[in-house]
């Protein structure tokens, strides 16, 4: 029994916006299952009273002065865009509503 089911992989793929084929789902279910089993070792470190570290170093309070810096030109901003219309990024129709 793998640590992760094919349906769970399908859910992860949806959350990650990856259109996977059925074969890929099977393949990743096996591989991810094995990886998840091997990384589960982190649970073995007894760390009840240990604070988690989100950063490598304990820096705090790094701020920027509220000053305007030059922006890109619209040409630069749009230079890599797959589609452009009226100086805006043209994108396929958007489903659903803003979250």
């Amino acid at each position: 029994m793998s640590a992760i089911t094919r349906d769970e992989v399908a859910h992860l793929a949806r959350l990650s916006r990856l259109a996977l084929t059925d074969d890929e789902l099977d393949h990743y279910a096996t591989q991810l299952g094995a990886i998840i089993e091997s990384v589960a070792k982190v649970a073995e470190v007894a760390a009840e009273d240990v604070p988690p570290s989100s950063h490598a170093l304990p820096l705090t309070n790094v701020f920027r002065a509220d000053e305007v810096r030059p922006s890109l030109t619209p040409e630069q901003a749009l230079s890599g865009a797959p589609a452009v219309e009226d100086d805006r990024f043209r994108v396929p129709r958007i489903l659903g509503e803003e979250a």
């Binding site: 959350l15 916006r17 989100s54 950063h55 820096l59 705090t60 309070n61 790094v62 701020f63 920027r64 002065a65 509220d66 000053e67 305007v68 810096r69 030059p70 922006s71 890109l72 030109t73 619209p74 901003a77 749009l78 890599g80 219309e85 009226d86 100086d87 805006r88 990024f89 043209r90 994108v91 396929p92 129709r93 958007i94 659903g96 509503e97 803003e98 979250a99």
Partner: protein, 501 residues
């Protein structure tokens, strides 16, 4: 559009009790964006205020705006919140084309400010709104939907996106659930947002223009049957963009939910959209399909640990808050609560205060703003503050009246001239020739003329019926086209007819 049935408000409230919750987003008025140096000017040409960071180009990184952090803490302090000793930004992960990184930098379980409250008054009664949290995040870009029905997202062929707004600092203020508002729920919601808006203004952190989206409100409503203590399922109505809409959205959602519940239905936890035109809400995306935002601490930004002494300084330097100021001014001006509330509702308090500061007596300042000027604002459908007249000009008019140079009637004419763009009060007086007649010779001649022309009235006065002098004073005023000093005219009449009061 799905038209849903509604239960009349009074009936709904007879059967159910509402619980409110409000999430308010305030765009801060910083010079630059939250995490980059791009400008924040509203209405700039598309994609002219963007850079690698706010476009999420590969490799770009955020850097946090110090003023935005400070403003958020000041807002938290004004709302009586505790300020975190240490907190982090977090990434809220979800894909959406107007959000360039496909995650929003926000705050999750470590908001900058938490556990506060805001006291408001509704119908003369105090209501305490508990604040759950105040946190800092970034705004999204703006999509325009092309094709299909007019600009709506459903049925559009494609969309075009402008990222100028992406990354503008956004403060989210979340209340705890607000039970016990009963029939006043819509008014409470509106009063809360109104008060919040005034606090933002007094702090100078945002222009809070709801019509430009710099203050946006999400309204949560749930109902429970009378006598029950278990809260119902809530809906979240998004982006309610005027104070009036806040009130209407709460009301319409109460009426809709009551109809659903009374009909044996159940409320779906969902996002709803408010429509200004119909005053009702429609269903948006259902929240039942679990949103898993996979929050985790933002590794590109370091934790914030506001220095306690600095927070204390910020607190000490807070301006007088609007409600406190209203209480003080009410006492200073000797007004009733009702009068003060009327001024508050008319947005007149600051104007009156400024007029008083320019030298006018409070009673006079209030009389003009709440009387003649309120009437004119109402006629032209504009806000008081938008009238083309300044508090200093009103103060000058009251000064002219006090000195006897104008009477009330003339003063009204002066105001009319100022509003018509004829210049400052003194210029209007000059141009329209509105100065009171206080040349003794001229006035004496008019009095003689009026006495001669009203022998009956003059005789009555001579015979001791002093009250009859009023008709003669009226005659003098008429003859002088309102410019005579009525009091002096009366004195002269009595003197000339040989009687005294």
């Amino acid at each position: 559009m799905n038209v849903e049935t509604a239960m009349p408000y009074d009936e709904a409230l007879d059967r159910y009790e509402p619980v409110l919750g409000l999430e308010t987003h305030v765009e801060l008025g910083t010079e630059s964006k939250m995490f980059c140096g791009c400008k924040t000017t509203f209405g700039a040409p598309p994609n002219t205020q963007v850079c690698p960071t706010c476009l999420a180009l590969p490799g770009s990184l955020p850097t946090a705006n110090a003023v935005a952090i400070e403003s958020t803490i000041r807002i938290g302090l004004a709302l009586n919140c505790s300020i975190a000793e240490w907190c982090r930004f977090a990434r809220k992960n979800y894909f959406y084309p107007d959000m360039p990184k496909n995650y929003q930098i926000s705050q999750y379980d470590e908001p900058l400010c938490f556990d506060g409250y805001l006291d408001i008054e509704v119908d003369g009664k105090p209501v305490r709104i508990e604040i759950e949290r105040v946190h800092l995040e970034e705004d999204t870009g703006k999509s325009t939907h092309v094709g299909g029905a007019t600009g709506r997202i459903h049925g559009a062929d494609y969309s075009i996106v402008d990222y100028n707004r992406a990354g503008i600092p956004l403060v989210e203020i979340v209340t705890k659930p607000i039970p016990g508002t009963d029939r006043l729920a819509p008014e409470v919601a509106k009063a809360y947002v109104t008060e919040l808006r005034e606090i933002m203004r007094s702090l100078g952190v945002s222009d809070v223009r709801m019509e430009e989206g710099s203050l946006r409100c999400d309204v949560n409503v749930s109902l429970m049957p009378r006598g029950s203590s278990e809260w119902g399922t809530r809906t979240e109505t998004k982006n309610v963009n005027s104070l009036r809409s806040v009130e209407r959205a709460v009301r319409s959602e109460i009426e809709r939910q009551a109809a659903v519940l009374a009909g044996g239905g159940r409320i779906v936890q969902e996002t709803r959209h408010f429509h200004e035109d119909t005053g009702s809400t429609t269903s948006g995306r259902s929240k039942e399909e679990a949103q898993d935002y996979r929050y985790f601490p933002e590794p590109d930004l370091v934790p914030i640990a506001p220095d306690r002494a600095w927070v204390a300084e910020l607190k000490a330097a807070l301006p007088e808050l609007p409600s406190v100021k209203r209480k003080r001014l009410r006492a200073e001006w000797g007004l009733s609560e009702l009068d003060m509330e009327a001024m508050h509702n008319a947005d007149a308090i600051d104007l009156v205060e400024a007029t008083v500061a320019a030298g006018a007596p409070a009673a006079d300042a209030r009389k003009w703003w709440m009387g003649e000027l309120a009437r004119r604002a109402n006629e032209s459908g504009s806000a008081l503050a938008e009238l083309p007249i300044t508090p200093a000009q009103i103060a000058r008019v009251t000064e002219l009246v006090a000195s006897g140079a104008l009477n009330d009637k003339l003063a009204r004419e002066v105001l009319e001239g100022v509003l018509a763009g004829e210049g400052a009060p003194d210029e209007v007086v000059e141009k329209r020739g509105l100065k009171i007649v206080n040349d003794e010779g001229e006035l004496s001649a008019i009095v003689d003329q009026v006495i001669a022309g009203n022998a009956d009235a003059a005789d009555k006065v001579r015979s001791g019926k002093v009250a009859a002098a009023g008709a003669l004073v009226g005659g003098v005023m008429k003859a002088s086209r309102g410019k005579a000093d009525a009091a002096r005219a009366r004195e002269l009449i009595l003197e000339k007819l040989g009687v005294s009061d």
